[in-house]
Amino acid sequence: MSVDTAHQQLAAAGTSRYVDHCMGIPISLAIRGRHARSRMGRTAWDDTIAELRRLDSIFSTYRKSSVISRLERAEIGPDDCPDEVAEIFELAALAKLETNAAFDIWRPRDDGVRHLDPSGVVKGWAIERASAPLRFLDDTAFCLSGGGDMVCRTPSTDAPAWRIGIEHPHDPSRLIAVVPLQNGAVATSGTVHRGEHLVDARSGRPVVGVASVTVVAASLTVADIDATSAYVMGADASRWLSDRPGITGFVVWADGSTTTTGDGQKSIS
């Protein structure tokens, strides 16, 4: 089958969508190509959701029975935790280091006590990890999003890119930008849907100056952590992003102006 034919078939097959809810967020899959409607595609989606539920049972801060909740209550020790917990702690340690502790999974809450909340590290990592079954589908393109952070894959370079709309942080019914992406990840950090839940861990206060940060990277683990980290850097967000290797950063400031960092086209030339 020629590349052109494959392309035409992909486009003609249209896009199927699946939605479920897990970790308190909606999980959306857009899929096109050979397995968009096949039994195998459906099974891969079921496996993706099953993996997300398994990770949620480890990391949920809302479930009292989760591994992370039991760890915080010191009912279990590190030896009792699955490997994934140490992985997340390491990712969190790096993010803390690279943001001068503005990002920390130990954050003061209203009571002034620091609580363990690894969700800022877990989400993108979990979605990326759970997308593994979908990557095994041949001649199939997919975009898997968890609450607005997503992994995109296309089977060949001339297949149509996924078009990712970046929500306007001041008006969620509008888009401020579109990112066409074949392979990679997009994550956005902001506060529009959940109130001011992102705080500078050093002060415990909400971040000011920046409305949203979007990061495009090869890996969703990286994109999610970098978007959250840059966001909590506040006014330093774009300067911080411009020092990060291999990513594109897009900052929307509180006044609605925007800054793009890490122009990938420059590194091609």
Binding site: E87, L94, S145, G165, I166, V178, V216, G264, I268
Partner: protein, 144 residues
């Protein structure tokens, strides 16, 4: 509880997972544990004790899609006090390829989502409760 955190960090060789993780996700399918990035790859690593009691641990060199990564971690009284990259990738053609497609195109102020021909929406985290009002819900409905 801080002790637990530092326990993890001081007993595990710190790799630059942030960069290295992608490779391990690819092989996670099919085995419940997946390939743990904590598994120590073959390669040189070591540690030294300074006079101040600080322990410096040099991690193994990890091959990532961005190139080789190696860090040096200083542990004092069970807590990490410093992490210094010894080797750090400076970007390669794979990054360029991904980013080449990935620059955001700014939209006209008046442009509405419905007319933008988009597949998915990236924004501040939408909770399942807030999902009903979201653009993404609208997109999902179109396709279902």
């Amino acid at each position: 509880m801080r002790r637990i955190t530092t326990w993890f960090l001081s007993t595990v060789t710190i790799l630059v997972l942030l960069l290295g993780y992608h490779t391990s996700t690819s092989s996670a399918f099919g085995s419940p544990g997946g390939t743990s990035v904590l598994s120590r790859p073959a390669g040189e690593s070591g540690q030294s004790q300074s006079s101040s009691g600080a322990r410096v641990v040099t991690g193994p060199t990890v091959q990532t899609q961005w190139g080789p990564v190696q860090v040096e971690v200083t542990v004092e009284a069970g807590a990490i006090t410093d992490v210094t990259p010894v080797q750090y990738p400076t970007g390669n053609s794979t990054d360029a390829q991904i980013n080449g497609y990935a620059l955001p195109i700014l939209m006209d102020e008046a442009m509405q989502a419905q007319s933008a021909n988009i597949d998915m929406v990236s924004g501040a985290t939408v909770t399942s409760t807030g999902y009903i009002q979201s653009l993404q819900a609208a997109l999902d409905q179109v396709g279902l």
